[in-house]
């Protein structure tokens, strides 16, 4: 079953390159995503067996993140159909600088999207640190062509930065894996394969200095990909230049993949009794990310970069929750779900705004509520969701992290966290609310006539409802899965 889950999208991806008819290819994308989601859903009722001699396993940590990925991808695939219809082939004019450019062939885009799904699934299911590394690097490679969909110099620059920075970061993570192997080989003389549950079982015997070094390298390596400050530099560029549906997947799914990598090494460190050591670093990186995001959010002129910096902030919140531990670790798991859905919704809406206004500047977008009312209303709802206001799920999870901090007596940390979140609220609210209100400027030439197709508002609406539901009523099954994930981490 687990093998099918990985090979199904990969096979569909290969097929995409051979299908000539665009509608057929789009149908394949959505049906592969739907099958993937169906299989993932079935795992909630009947846990799948291990595959590949135990290298693939759906464990307590993998399950929530696989479910986020699968659900999000299905929604994004539906949106992508509408997006690809809008992006007719042939040369088009760049709205920022006025030159002409073409898009990458649609077959390449759809194929890479499906490969991307396949590699991200592998990340969630890897039970071996080596396999996990291969999968994370493969996500970088399969997503680089997606960022370079619009073939012009800005997206080229973003792709180059993304590829180089993330590859070097992930190279450091590979060194971390080797260090981990050294740490594991000391006790018996013979070395072990880097199976995560074996390492956790034997954790007390691991060589502590090498394990600590391994943790640092894996944290920095996967942290680069997760967008923790100061290693986040690729993130705003890639998110602003990629098509919105890709940005949604990068923020909602890819950053989680890197987070899973960090969770795995944390799991091993916690089993070895090094949790306090690791948590110190999480708090440091977490606070740095939130603070840096706050600084760049305040005066942001590009609304897609605004959302990208907000992702840096939320990755910081996840790291912080993990660093505090206890209630906050559960809060971080819940927050990962909330952030993925909220941010993906906002990026999809940003795609709608971009299509209607043909500009990414926050000063030129006015009156979204009048021009495209549904998108505008959802945009305002998304603003409240992303800043952690009630009644959305993000409010609950950010509050849980705050409660965790207070329970552990870390009042200074709690105060800093609250202060930074309020600065971010002000910064984002000022910008995003101004975009929604006011008189809409005259429609730019070349904007599509039918501005709000069902395919462009249905997906963000579904995501918004999910976040709202998580805030009002957390289903017991979801609660149990997230609790199990937090317990599996061993963050006391």
């Amino acid at each position: 079953m687990l093998t099918t889950l990985i090979l199904l999208p990969a096979a569909a991806a290969v097929l995409c390159f051979f299908i000539r008819q665009a509608p057929l290819r789009r149908a394949l994308l959505v049906s592969a995503a739907a099958c993937h989601a169906g299989l993932t859903l079935s795992f909630w009722f009947r846990p799948p067996d291990d595959a590949w001699r135990g290298a693939l396993r759906l464990d307590a940590i993998g399950q929530p993140f696989l479910s986020i990925l699968s659900g999000l991808f299905l929604v994004a695939a539906v949106y992508a159909v509408g997006y690809l219809r809008r992006e007719s082939p042939g040369p088009r004019e760049d709205f920022l600088e006025g030159f002409r450019f073409t898009n990458a062939p649609e077959a390449v885009f759809t194929g890479c999207l499906l490969f991307f799904l396949s590699t991200m699934t592998l990340v969630m299911l890897s039970e071996n640190m080596g396999l996990l590394w291969i999968a994370v690097e493969a996500t970088t490679l399969s997503s680089a062509p997606l960022i370079y969909f619009h073939r012009h110099h800005r997206s080229l620059e973003a792709t180059w930065k993304y590829l180089l920075i993330c590859s070097v970061g992930i190279g450091l993570a590979l060194l971390g894996n080797f260090f981990l192997a050294v740490a594991a080989s000391s006790s018996h003389g013979a070395s072990t394969p880097l199976s995560i549950h074996l390492l956790c079982e034997r954790a007390p015997e691991l060589n502590a200095p090498w394990l600590k070094a391994a943790f640092i390298f894996l944290l920095v390596g996967y942290g680069t990909k997760m967008g923790l400050a100061p290693l986040h530099t690729w993130l705003p560029d890639a998110h602003s230049e990629a098509p919105s549906v890709v940005s949604a997947l990068l923020s909602g799914a890819l950053l989680n993949c890197a987070f899973v990598g960090i969770l795995r090494i944390f799991q091993i460190c916690a089993a070895a009794g090094l949790a306090p050591y690791a948590q110190g670093f999480f708090i440091l990186f977490g606070l740095a990310s939130i603070a840096l995001a706050a600084a760049f959010l305040l005066a942001q002129r590009d609304y897609k970069r605004l959302l990208a910096y907000s992702s840096v902030e939320h990755m910081g919140i996840l790291a912080l929750g993990l660093g505090i531990g206890g209630t906050a670790a559960f809060g971080a798991m819940l927050h990962a779900v909330n952030h993925s859905f909220t941010k993906a919704m906002l990026f999809l809406l940003a795609g709608n705004i971009l299509a209607a206004y043909r500009t990414k500047s926050v000063h030129e977008v006015r009156g979204v509520l009048r021009r495209i009312p549904v998108t505008g209303a959802l945009w305002l709802a998304g603003l409240f969701a992303i800043t952690g206001s009630p009644p959305f799920g993000t409010f609950v999870s950010e509050l849980l992290i705050l409660r965790g901090a207070l329970e552990h007596g870390r009042f200074l940390l709690a105060a800093l966290y609250l202060a930074l979140l309020s600065v971010i609220f002000v910064g984002m609210a000022a910008t995003m609310a101004r975009m929604a209100h006011g008189e809409a400027p005259p429609a730019p030439a070349g904007a599509p006539d039918a501005l709000e197709a069902k395919l462009s508002i249905g997906p963000p609406l579904a995501l918004g409802l999910a976040v709202l539901l998580l805030g009002v009523y957390l289903p017991p099954s979801v609660d149990a899965v997230l609790r199990r994930a937090a317990e599996a981490l061993g963050a006391g």
Binding site: A55, N128, G130, L131, W133, I134, E137, A138, T140, L141, A144, P145, Y148, R151, H152, H153, R154, L156, E157, A158, T159, W160, K161, L163, L164, S167, V168, G171, L172, L174, L175, F178, A181, V182, S185, S186, G189, A190, S191, T192, P193, L194, N207, P209, W210, A213, P236, D237, S240, E241, F296
Partner: protein, 214 residues
């Protein structure tokens, strides 16, 4: 045998210094290729007393990929972009070489702090691997041409790989092959992007890639 491994490690450090001092890109590609072959030999020599099919496979695949396939890909990219040499790197050649020497000294110091458990096949593995890694990073940040940066990435990757093969890291052959495959695809994708940068800007100078900033 140990002295042979030590010699290979010293050669690895020499290739690093050579890469830092070269301006002609085709000579750099050849040096990086030599480094790849060297690493394949390291894999064989470091595990000479328990040579298995797995290690042979890894060494041969490594030599074929790093010594033949990558250079061919990179030479093809070089012909396509029609440049000969790196111009005016951010850090000059002589300071680069000095920085490379300094990196090696720092690596020796770091390695003395982190003793390998058990008996390592050579004391020079950790310092040589770490200094290769630093040199790779230095090339990435100090050179302007996208192709030079790709070479820097390869040198960096070689440093990581040197550590992996040197300390007899036991992983399923499948995982090792997966790692090599990933690096291969990375170089392939980077090569394509280099080609696109050349077409878009009539140059592969990454200082032209400076539109996106705050």
């Amino acid at each position: 045998m140990h002295s042979l491994l030590d010699t290979l490690m010293v050669l690895l450090v020499f290739t690093n210094l050579r890469i830092l001092g070269l301006s002609r890109i085709n000579a750099s590609i050849r040096t990086v290729a030599a480094q790849g072959v060297l690493l394949g030999l390291v894999a064989l020599v470091a595990n000479a007393d328990h040579l298995t099919g797995r290690i042979l496979l890894i060494a041969v695949a490594g030599i074929a990929l790093k010594g033949i396939v990558f250079p061919v890909l990179l030479f093809r990219a070089l012909r396509a972009v029609k440049i000969r040499r790196e111009v005016e790197p951010f850090v000059g050649y002589i300071p680069s070489v000095l920085a490379g020497v300094a990196a090696f000294l720092v690596s020796l110091w770091v390695a003395a702090r982190l003793p390998l458990p058990g008996r390592p096949p050579s004391d020079l593995i950790v310092p040589a691997a770490l200094s290769t890694l630093f040199v790779g990073l230095l090339v990435i940040v100090s050179r302007k041409k996208a192709l030079s940066q790709t070479l820097g990435y390869l040198v960096f990757e070689n440093g990581v790989y040197a550590f992996g093969v040197g300390v007899a890291y036991e992983a399923p052959a499948l995982v090792e092959m997966g790692i090599l495959l990933d690096v291969f695809v990375a170089v392939f994708v980077m090569g394509i992007i280099v080609f696109h940068i050349a077409r878009e800007f009539d140059s592969i100078d990454t200082t032209r890639l400076a539109t996106l900033k705050e």
